[in-house]
């Protein structure tokens, strides 16, 4: 779509340079750890070396002797205020500090408050905790065995480690369809625990003003409004009420979902500030971040896919065990304990499907939170895209042909999936064909055949994913009861410039730029003249925040709707100024003119001035509007990715030679930013496919707990991504946009895995669990006698 506005106005479709960059390229961003308030104290945390242990005693005397240490807070301190437990976003419960036992390694045990960060760290060293180790359960299948120790002894009636059972679809019909299928493929998959590892860790500065009774918290949060409500609910009984709490989310150094939950550290800093009446800073270090916060995935899946002989996919059945760690602290909408996993039928027109998920407690930190996709879409896409490839292999069909044969056809949209979603729009054939053309698919297959002859290992992998974002319609979506709409408030000032505030919070996505473009598109006010603000609960309208690719579909839509309200009023003012009837006016971006008499016109700037200086009698002055947008449906971005890998037969190393990503996220606000989002998403898709994993030994000791062994991709492993697009607008979003932040993270892993398996398929390899490390491949090659 060619832009409708001039480069000066810079509405949708322009690659406007980012408005936030001038501060960041000068080192003038304002992140939480940059905030230093007069008299500020520092909080540091004592953590458990054991994954499961009773706390016999905590001795604070030596810590209190450390110069600069002012206080040591334990679970017992908090218990006096009934603040030792707090709710999770899934209405489970989580310890702030333990009073009886710890449930995972690196769990918070006590907090030290001191005058500077070094003293606080010294204090942490000097706290002596005596533990009595308990049996550790790290394997969710063992946790479900009848004789497994019950972990959540705090829950009186709890007799096992089972959290929830959730299922969707028709079990019996799916089973009989599978029984009747010509071909059935079955595969177990494990999608391991991983960590978002945003380069900025989590932290806050809590600043309680005793005189005014007001709490200000600067916090690394993606959802400041929801967090304020949670704080009011958690601490209302000790006098913190919502209008006296101001949550400020300043510049955020990457979020990816890891900055949605409430972590104990935040609560501890707040409690400390309230008690001592001084500002208290808590910023976790990287090891704390990797060991205790915000884990994703940890899904054990058993999947079956059926098809006819000629390659029509007929039925899909999945059974999943989800390891949530010691509490269910995911950030799913409350009616969806397994998130939006039911998107698992993917891009295919399947007639029968059934999926079930069981959530389980283990001695691990809270899991299932997020990794640039919080709602289990990645797990779903990985499963269906892997199974489709396995089926193609079984049927001896080209995986591209099998996909093209089974895609939901473009003329079937809006499409009702068998598991209950209404896909808004799509053109799956278009995206895959474009990707195949761009990468030269047929030529690559020929090259592969030649290489195989010569004993060289090369593979081509496809992933044709369907995303599901923009949660969501209030009839289905809420978090802790809070409906998942989002908001925008626009104020057009007398000189025709505007300020707009949103309920979301950018963490690098560039909202200050893209939201300005959204409004510029609707109002014709240059995006350069629109100031965007987010992240301060005292000023921004209520919204549920930025995660799950929801900003564009919800708050972006709210921006468009609020702008249209402004435009409606502007039209009335224009009619008055031009002495014309509203019906005789027409709008071109930025100007109302009289039909057939274009010289009779008023610009939006003239109208804005009139709104304050010369507004029609009987009309209220000013030019402002608010919208709380409740989307009628989710949006369904999609795309087709093709990856080419070469495998080193000596070392097992997988090299991504090329990766073409064709994405369709509907109408595009800023192509440059969309491309950047896809580059980043692809890299965060490659990471778990090839490098990242957090695992535990049988005693619950973490591996991958620092950047020494948690391998975040560097510029060396990351290929030069090639991006392209098709544009299929969303029919229900006011601007036809869909959201794009997570598409690539969701879509990339199976393309890479499919490519590696494709390279090894002739050796009899059918599946490899991620991450596909050189060691795993090397072992396979050795096993198959194909190594060097």
């Amino acid at each position: 779509m060619a832009p409708q506005t001039t480069p000066e106005v810079c509405g949708m479709g322009h690659s406007m340079k980012r408005k936030e960059d001038p501060r960041f390229i000068r080192g003038q961003g304002n992140y939480v750890d940059d905030i230093q308030l007069p008299g500020m104290l520092y909080l540091d945390i004592v953590r458990s070396p054991f994954a499961h242990a009773r706390i016999k005693s905590i001795a604070r005397e030596n810590a209190l002797k450390v110069p600069g240490v002012l206080a040591v807070i334990t679970g017992e301190t908090l218990e006096q205020y009934n603040l030792h437990w707090m709710p999770t976003l899934m209405s489970d419960t989580q310890m702030v500090l333990p009073t009886e036992k710890v449930m995972y390694q690196a769990q918070e045990v006590a907090a030290v408050v001191a005058t500077d960060r070094y003293a606080a760290a010294d204090g942490v060293e000097a706290v002596e905790v005596d533990y009595d180790p308990l049996p550790v359960v790290v394997d969710p299948f063992k946790a479900l065995e009848p004789d497994a120790p019950v972990l959540r002894t705090d829950k009186e009636d709890k007799k096992d480690n089972h959290i929830f059972h959730w299922e969707v679809g028709d079990r019996a019909a799916t089973q009989s369809a599978l029984a009747g299928a010509d071909v059935v493929v079955k595969q177990d998959l494990y999608i391991p625990r991983i960590h978002v590892a945003s380069i900025e860790t989590c932290g806050c500065v809590a600043d309680f003003d005793r005189v005014m009774g007001k709490l200000k918290v600067y916090m690394t949060t993606q959802a400041p409004h929801a967090i304020r409500t949670v704080l009011a609910l958690v601490a209302g009984h000790v006098g913190l009420s919502e209008e006296k709490i101001q949550v400020i989310s300043p510049d955020i150094g990457g979020g990816f979902g890891g900055k949605v939950p409430v972590y104990p550290g935040y609560v501890l800093a707040i409690a400390a500030s309230v008690v001592v009446g001084k500002p208290v800073k808590w910023v976790e270090d990287r090891m704390e971040n990797l060991q205790a916060d915000s884990f994703a995935r940890d899904y054990h899946l058993k999947a079956e896919l059926g098809a006819t002989k000629d390659g029509t996919l007929t039925a899909l059945k999945i059974k999943t065990v989800a390891d949530h760690g010691y509490t269910d602290a995911a950030a799913n909408p409350s009616k969806f304990p397994a998130g939006l996993f039911s998107i698992v039928t993917g891009s295919y027109d399947l007639k029968h499907a059934f999926a079930e998920v069981d959530g389980v407690y283990t001695n691990k930190p809270p899991g299932g939170i997020a990794y640039r996709c919080s709602f289990r879409v990645t797990e779903a896409v990985h499963t269906i895209e892997r199974l489709t490839d396995i089926m193609a292999h079984e049927l001896k069909m080209d995986p591209a042909d099998l996909r093209l044969k089974n895609f939901v056809p473009a003329d079937k949209f809006p499409y009702k999936s068998v598991l209950g979603w209404e896909y808004d729009s799509g053109n799956y054939h278009g995206a895959l064909r474009k990707a195949m053309e761009r990468i030269g698919y047929a030529e690559l297959r020929r090259e592969q055949a030649d290489k195989r002859e010569r004993g060289e290992l090369m593979g081509i992998g496809i992933s044709s994913f369907t995303e599901i974002v923009g949660a969501g319609p209030s009839r289905q979506f809420d978090i802790l009861g809070l409906k998942m709409f989002d908001s925008c408030e626009i104020r057009v000032h007398p000189t025709g410039k505007a300020t707009a505030r949103f309920g979301t919070k950018s963490q690098g996505q560039g909202h200050e730029t893209t939201y300005a473009q959204v409004l510029a598109e609707e109002l014709g006010i240059p995006a350069a003249h629109i100031e965007i603000e987010e992240g301060d609960t005292d000023t921004a309208p209520y919204g549920l925040g930025t995660y799950a690719s929801r900003s564009t579909p919800t708050a972006g839509a709210a921006g468009a709707m609020a702008a249209r309200k402004v435009r409606d009023k502007a039209k009335k003012i224009a009619a008055y100024l031009l002495e014309a009837s509203e019906d005789d006016l027409e709008w071109t971006p930025g100007t109302f003119s009289v039909k057939g008499a274009p010289q009779k016109s008023k610009t939006i700037q003239e109208i804005a001035f009139a709104a304050y200086t010369n507004h029609p009698p009987g009309m209220e002055g000013g030019l402002e509007a608010v919208s709380y947008y409740d989307p009628p449906n989710l949006t369904f971005p999609f795309g087709s990715y093709i990856c080419v890998v070469d495998i080193d037969r000596g070392t097992g190393e997988v090299k991504i030679r090329r990766f073409v990503a064709v994405d369709d996220c509907g109408n595009i606000i800023n192509p440059m930013i969309v491309d950047g989002q896809i580059h980043g998403g692809l890299t965060m898709g490659m990471a778990p496919a090839l490098l990242e994993e957090i695992s535990y030994d049988e005693n619950g000791n973490i591996s991958g707990g620092s950047f020494m062994d948690y391998l975040v991709p560097t510029a060396m492993e990351t290929p030069r991504w090639e991006t392209d697009k098709t544009v299929t607008p969303s029919p229900h979003h006011p601007q036809g946009a869909k959201g794009v932040g997570e598409s690539a993270t969701v879509g990339a892993p199976p393309a890479i895995v499919n490519a590696v398996v494709d390279a090894l398929a002739h050796l009899g390899v059918r599946h490899i669990d991620i991450p596909i490390t050189p060691e795993k491949v090397w072992r396979i090659l050795k096993d198959k006698g194909a190594g060097l």
Binding site: I25, G27, S198, I199, G254, R286, H679, G680, F707, M716
Partner: protein, 160 residues
């Protein structure tokens, strides 16, 4: 804890301070001088968010003690812009969308500066090698490479 008197030139300005032996250079820059553009992203010298130049060489300031910088010159992101003119790297990062959350950016800029000072026309492979000790979780590096290429071209043009 023992204190040491140090003289360190930061972005061309001589500074004197009494620092604890164990104080990290990054904390001195951030917490004492309030030059908060240099960031902290890890505790194992991996992320490079804290990269500054010490006598022109890129170092991870989380792994340098302030006393080790005694008598030396430190350059941070705050010193890149000169008399209101952006450094070509700063311009490159904005033009080529080389940053998203901006947290890794100061470190990338300083590493980039050290690279370009020694190599006015680096290849893509050389750029990737140079920034391999700087992690970025947002951009996927493609546009960071382009940003540095943009700056290199501009610097070559300026000196031609």
């Amino acid at each position: 804890m023992a204190k040491h008197d140090v003289r360190i030139t930061v972005n061309g300005e001589p500074r004197e301070a009494a620092v604890e032996s164990r104080l990290l250079l990054v904390h001195w820059l951030r917490d004492v001088l309030r030059l908060t553009g240099t960031h902290i992203g890890c505790d194992t010298t991996h992320c490079g968010a804290c990269t500054v130049l010490l006598d022109g060489e890129p170092v991870k300031s989380c792994t340098v003690l302030a006393v080790q910088a005694d008598g030396r010159e430190v350059a941070t992101v705050e010193g890149l812009e000169q008399d209101g003119t952006l450094h070509p790297l700063q311009e490159g990062f904005q033009q080529e969308h080389g940053l998203q959350c901006g947290f890794c950016t100061p470190g990338m800029l300083m590493t980039g500066r050290a690279l370009l000072e020694g190599n006015s026309d680096p290849s893509e492979a050389e750029i990737r090698q140079a920034i391999s000790g700087n992690l970025c979780r947002c951009t996927g590096y493609v546009n960071i490479v382009k940003s540095i290429e943009h700056a290199a071209a501009k610097l070559r043009q300026e000196s031609a």
